[in-house]
Every structure is written in structure tokens, then in C-alpha cells.
Symmetry: C3
Amino acid sequence: MNERLAVRTRGRGLCEVTADVQAVVRGAGVTDGLCTVFIQHTSASLTIQENADPSARHDLEHWLDRLVPADDPHFTHTLEGPDDMPSHIKSALTSTTLSIPIVKGRLGLGTWQGIYVWEHRDRGAERHLLVHVSGK
Amino acid sequence: MNERLAVRTRGRGLCEVTADVQAVVRGAGVTDGLCTVFIQHTSASLTIQENADPSARHDLEHWLDRLVPADDPHFTHTLEGPDDMPSHIKSALTSTTLSIPIVKGRLGLGTWQGIYVWEHRDRGAERHLLVHVSGK
Amino acid sequence: MNERLAVRTRGRGLCEVTADVQAVVRGAGVTDGLCTVFIQHTSASLTIQENADPSARHDLEHWLDRLVPADDPHFTHTLEGPDDMPSHIKSALTSTTLSIPIVKGRLGLGTWQGIYVWEHRDRGAERHLLVHVSGK
């Protein structure tokens, strides 16, 4: 079973989608199985991160932005703006796809884990995810 | 089929779990299928790395530790200790989930590949994995 | 269903395999399901990246090569050549496995997404992938 989700991001940073993915799992009526989330973009990605303290997500975003700064003079792929090439690199360093076991009808996340879309462009955008659920 | 594994790590670095995951696959009695490993933490992660020469894993651990040092003055998420925020970043840069095809009843790993839990906290901890097996 | 693909790379950089993976999906006759690609190496990896402008892939490769230079004096794992240890690190920072939902008989990739083998050794090699397809 595949379902497409649209997520509206509001600029660079992490946007939680745990409840949206859990709703797809619930709708599929699967008790034991596997849920795969796939993002259909190369300038935004997915990550599973701590969902408790927002300072962790803030530091994560800022650290990655220092690692891959927008003003790198080596970049040649600059037609789509200075934040485009860093977005592709940040996507390659994080995840385009995540697979999470379903246990007793729920995503088998740890206590402090949340699923996030990680927007790498300066402006937000409508981002599309495919959520695949298999099992019984 | 889902099974939960507990792994005791002994401080920062890679801890091999290939045999544990292979045992779950064997127990499931699946000949052709897919095995997904998921770690329920955001300060430890998963990786598939060379299982031959320990120096490769040593260099890998040290390289990542130099990339994400614990004393970064930009960090604001410091309540859980100086090794906590680097652990979240290292987890985001590596893998929370791995999917490995099962071929003839065995994990389809290459000759030199092993599955590792990558502990990012200074002290070891009991870490939990979910292993999902599907197929026939 | 599992199929093994051999890919010949021509030195460091990205080598597109989208059509090869799509051909396995077509051959499996699956309309809705999941396709998992796994690379059986620790010195080459997988990524989903922009398939439009080659300059994006060029910048990506050069950026990662600057992040993980071959002449790092800290490396102790050097017996297999100066490009071996950087290859393991680059593999750990990118992906060994990718899972892509299958929608209406085709890989559910976004408009600008392609699947690539990322060769990290200076010389190309024959690289092996396992492609697993499930669904109906």
C-alpha cells in the first residue's frame, strides 16, 4: 500500500511528520510489518531525530549549515541560487528513504525518536513523500 | 516478523551485530526476502563497514570524531553532557535503518561487509534494535 | 524477488543505474510495492541525486573529496592505497541501501531524481548490487 503525503515546509530546518506517517500506518490496518518513507526531492531529505528538546534540532541544522556553507567558491552549479548546491550535498549526507518496523499497529520508534522532513532550501516548499506499508 | 535485539556497547565506536541479525533471519526461516534493521536511538546509529581490518573502523571512528568535536562552542543543547549533541549529529550523518536482501536464507552481504551498531556516546549503553524479516 | 546487477564504474564519481533498476522492477511485474537496492561494497555507495544538470554531480563529488581528502596523516589503514580509507568514510556518510516505493509499475522517483552508484576509489571497478522487489 502506497500513499502520497504533501508537507509544507517553512524554510531551512526540520519539520516533524511522525503523526502523518503514523496515520498512514493506522489507515493501512497493519499490525506487524514495515513502513518505508521516501522523499521525492534532492534538496530536502529525511531524518529520525530527538523529538524532545528543540535545541537539539536547532544545533543540528546549524552544524550542517556550517559544514556545507552556501558561499563555497568551488561550486559551479549555481544557476538555481546559492542555496541549491548545498541542498543537494546536505541531502546526500542525510537520508532520502527510511524504513521503520511496525509493531502492534504502531511505528516501532524509540521513546525520543521523531520522523522529520529536513528542508535544505532557504524558502519552504511543498514537499512530497511516498509512504509504503506492508505486513499483516 | 519483528524481533527486538538488545546490544551492549562499550563506549564510542563500532560494535558488530552481523551474527545476531543473521540468527534472526535463520530463525524466521526465510529463503528469499528482505531484512530491515532499525535502531531505536538518536545517539547511536547503524553502518555497514569493512569487517576485515580493525584499523579501518578505528580510522572511521576517529575521522568522524574530528569532524564533529564535542567542544563546539556553537552548541546550545548541552544539558545531557558534551558528547550528546555530537551524538545526534553523527547519527544524522550515518544510518538509523538498513535494509539487506536475503538470498538463499542468508543476508546478501558482500565478502567484506559487516553490520555494526555505532555508539556515539562516550560511555556504552544498552541499545535496542528492531529486526524485520519478510519473504518466503 | 532478488536480482543481482553488475555495474562497471570508471573512477571516482556518480554512475547512473536508474534504468537498470527500473528494468528489474518491470521484469518482476509488480504494480504496487517496494524496491530495495543494496550495494555489496564498502568503498562504493548509493545515492539518489539530481539527474538533470551534470554540474550538480560534479560539485557533489568534489565537495565530498575535499571533506575526506586522501592524504590525511591520521589514517592508519593505508595498506590498500591512499584512496581506500577515504572510500570507507565516504561510504559511511552516504548510503549502502535505498528503498523506493513502486507506484503503477514504476519506481516512485521525483521528477529530477536518479539512482546512482557512487564510486569512491580512484580506479573504477565492477560493482555488484542486489535489487529486491516485493508487492503485487
